[in-house]
């Protein structure tokens, strides 16, 4: 028995013993996710138990070093943990921008004090983070942000406005790009800072999306005091931290094409439209489009797998994340267009139980943001043209 086999056996046993029944099975909606934080909301009390147990083992961030509260697992062990969790259909104990985004950036750029202070709280789901990047005037041109941090010795005074801040109204802390040198060329002069959303002068306002509900907010800073100790990385070099973090976000959103999951398209369509005498979907034109989509989706899943293998083998080009983000989000949009066609007029309903509150339509509309958030498709294509194709002037 190899070490990995032993680890698998132990993990399996621990999961069987510790994962509550309520925390097994698919997560039906965003509301059923556990985001943690000071005002954490749990779908059931068992979900709190599950988070506490996993957090104590550091398995909410399996590959982070144990000294910062992480699981301290190797990549292989983490894969085993993942597959064992899938085996029993265990839900993720925690959804967290702290784990997905800030943590990796702190591990790469944070001071020892920052890691000691912030990472364990993230692992245990005690503090919920949000991301303050986009601004109304900036959009894709992230580096042109205007939120200003004025130097006041040991602290800054921050004034400005962010937009598309996911769950800003529910977050405890924010990681945020601010302009610390208004004179410098635009990519320089930006710093990456952390502060408490309860600080005086911070306010938020939710944004309604076309899909009806939205995790997004506008966030306003009015003379907000930010301690200089909470600067991550070098002063005026926050752009490096942001880029590092964006790469993580891209892979995550790109993967939605795969993870968007749910029932296979063909099944949805035959369920809604029926079959002809030869057992084919009784809409030849839609059938062809679904088949083409499924070929692309299967190929994309293989590309995701291959990218993982490349990372493992140290052969991955960092800009491949842009490619996967671009492709995955376009694919997911196409998939939902086809789901709408498969659902026909039933899928057009916006309210009521039959349509589960217009789920198909709302999900479809939500996917339209995939190719905008985390860097638009156009930005990804620019990155590919420049970094992977070396096209001039890109």
């Amino acid at each position: 028995m190899t070490d990995l086999d032993t680890f698998r056996a132990e993990t399996r046993a621990w999961l069987e013993a510790n994962c509550p029944a309520e925390c097994r099975g698919p997560v039906e909606s965003d509301e059923d996710r556990v985001w943690g934080g000071r005002n954490a909301v749990f779908p059931t009390p068992a979900h709190k138990v599950w988070l506490d147990r996993m957090g104590a083992k550091g398995w909410t961030a399996p590959e982070w070093p144990a000294e910062y509260g992480g699981g301290g697992l190797s990549r292989e062990q983490a894969k085993v943990l993942g597959s064992e969790m899938r085996r029993i259909d265990a839900q993720a104990p925690l959804a967290s921008f702290g784990v997905w985004m800030l943590g990796p950036a702190l591990l790469a750029f944070g001071t020892e004090e920052q890691k000691q202070r912030f990472l364990p709280e993230i692992v245990r789901g005690e503090i919920r983070w949000c991301q303050g990047y986009s601004e109304p005037g900036a959009g894709s041109d992230l580096a042109s942000i205007q939120t200003r941090a004025e130097d006041r010795g040991d602290h800054w005074i921050v004034n400005g406005q962010k937009v598309w801040t996911s769950y800003a109204d529910k977050a405890d802390w924010i990681f945020c790009l601010v302009r610390t040198d208004p004179e410098a060329p635009k990519h320089l002069g930006i710093s990456f800072v952390l502060f408490d959303m309860a600080t005086k002068g911070v306010s938020t306002r939710p944004i309604t999306l076309i899909s009806g509900k939205s995790p997004f907010c506008e966030t306003f800073f009015d003379d907000v005091r930010v301690e200089k100790a909470n600067l991550v990385g070098t002063l005026n070099r926050g752009w490096d931290v942001a880029k590092h973090l964006l790469a993580h976000e891209r892979t995550m959103i790109g993967a939605m094409g795969e993870l968007g999951g749910g029932r296979p398209l063909g099944q949805v369509a035959t369920g809604s439209i029926g079959m002809d005498d030869e057992g084919r979907l009784d809409d030849g034109m839609l059938r062809a489009r679904i088949a083409e989509m499924e070929i692309d989706a299967a190929a994309f899943r293989l590309a995701m797998e291959r990218a993982g293998d490349q990372v493992k083998a140290g052969q991955a080009h960092p800009a491949i994340a842009s490619m996967l983000k671009y492709y995955g989000s376009e694919l997911n949009k196409r998939r939902h267009e086809l789901l709408m066609a498969a659902g026909g007029s039933d899928a057009l309903e916006w309210e009521g139980e039959r349509s589960r509150g217009g789920k198909a339509a709302r999900d479809w509309l939500r996917t339209k943001a995939n190719s905008i958030e985390g860097g638009t498709s156009e930005v990804q294509l620019n990155i590919i043209a420049k970094h992977l194709l070396q096209l001039p002037g890109a």
Partner: protein, 373 residues
């Protein structure tokens, strides 16, 4: 007939655009939606349509209408697409009016056509049953019963069905298909409003042993197929015109945005990738416009292959409008995703119009069959 508007038709277009921009711009839709209006459609506006001569554009003058043709109906439909105005125009003023004009008895016409033309009555055509438009696969039946018929079945996607003063129901009879004029208050008729993604309205109608007299039949018993097909084709061409209106309006809004929004120190309209996508989309919109004009003209000329041209128009306009709203949201970026901006409303409306009366796939299938492959 040339595929451009005559002077009279251009005047109608101006009148319609002007009226809607003043009295029923997108804010009108938002108000009905956000106030959760029980009807989801304004009876007052419908009456105003009657006064302006819009409601009865295809209704003969002897019944109080304007006695115009398919091109004029398309002009109205396109205008409604531009302002996203919820209106019984397509359901009552086109589909049902066309059935009654072509097949209604003297009494039926006298009872309903003047009231539709005046914007006083809403008459809904109930055809669809499953999730997809498939009039050839109908299950609703009308069995002879006493002096009349007994109807059983379930209909969906019935435009304005929840506020209808009368329903026209398509059902199978012994040797074909028959259309019946049904009072929605008849015992056995159940109507459920379905709030749609575009905040326009439709209903599900369940018919359980609904008894109607023989004089409820429109046209002849078993002879409803051609009658229905004629109305559907006009409706499809008008839906295509609405798709063009909505798609083009989303496109124009986007072009205006490209000319003013700055990113990376440039107007985003300066980026060649967006220019080429815009130019491609412009081309598609022009092609779709020609297809719709061709279909409406073919209907007015009574061309034997008009149904096929209608399929070309509906399929093409649908795909193009879909591309137009997708590009509109994408090129607007984040703000395009907000409910506050209008582009999302165009995306929603286009989705519904695409599904209505047969999506692009349905009409491609018709094309394939007609060409024998």
């Amino acid at each position: 007939m040339p595929l451009i508007l005559t002077e009279e038709q251009s005047m109608l277009k101006e009148a319609a655009d002007g009226f809607l921009n003043e009295h029923a711009p997108i804010a009108h839709l938002r108000k009905l939606r956000d106030s959760r209006d029980a009807d989801g459609v304004s009876r007052d506006l419908w009456r105003a349509f009657g006064e302006m001569g819009f409601a009865g554009v295809i209704i003969p003058e002897e019944h109080g209408g304007s006695g115009l043709g398919a091109v004029e109906a398309g002009v109205m439909a396109e205008a409604l697409g531009r302002t996203l105005t919820p209106s019984p125009f397509l359901g009552s003023g086109v589909l049902s009016a066309k059935v009654l004009i072509d097949g209604g008895s003297g009494a039926q016409q006298a009872a309903w056509l003047p009231r539709i033309a005046a914007g006083e009555a809403i008459v809904s055509l109930a055809v669809d049953e499953g999730a997809k438009h498939a009039p050839a696969r109908m299950a609703t039946v009308a069995q002879r019963s006493g002096n009349g018929f007994k109807l059983n079945g379930a209909k969906g996607f019935v435009l304005d069905g929840h506020v209808a003063d009368a329903l026209i129901v398509a059902a199978l009879t012994e040797n074909g298909l028959t259309l019946f004029l049904v009072d929605p208050k008849t015992a056995g008729v159940e109507i459920e409003r379905t709030v749609m993604v575009d905040a326009h309205n439709a209903a599900r109608v369940t018919l359980t042993d609904v008894e109607v007299d023989a004089d409820a039949v429109i046209g002849s018993v078993d002879g409803g197929e051609a009658l229905l097909e004629g109305a559907l084709n006009l409706g499809r061409a008008c839906a295509a015109a609405s798709l063009n209106g909505a798609g083009d309006q989303a496109f124009q809004t986007t072009m205006a945005y490209l000319r003013t929004r700055k990113q990376f120190g440039k107007l985003i309209g300066e980026f060649q990738a967006l220019q080429h996508r815009s130019a491609h989309l412009f081309s598609e919109i022009e092609i779709a416009r020609a297809a719709v004009m061709g279909a409406l003209t073919a209907l007015d000329n009574g061309r034997p292959d008009a149904g096929l041209v209608v399929s070309v128009a509906k399929a093409k306009a649908g795909r193009v409008a879909e591309l137009a709203v997708q590009e509109a949201v994408q090129m607007h970026g984040g703000v395009g995703m907000t409910d506050e901006y209008d582009v999302g409303l165009f995306m929603k409306r286009v989705r519904v119009l695409n599904e209505l009366l047969g999506d692009a796939g349905f009409h491609q299938e018709r094309m394939a069959r007609a060409q024998g492959f």
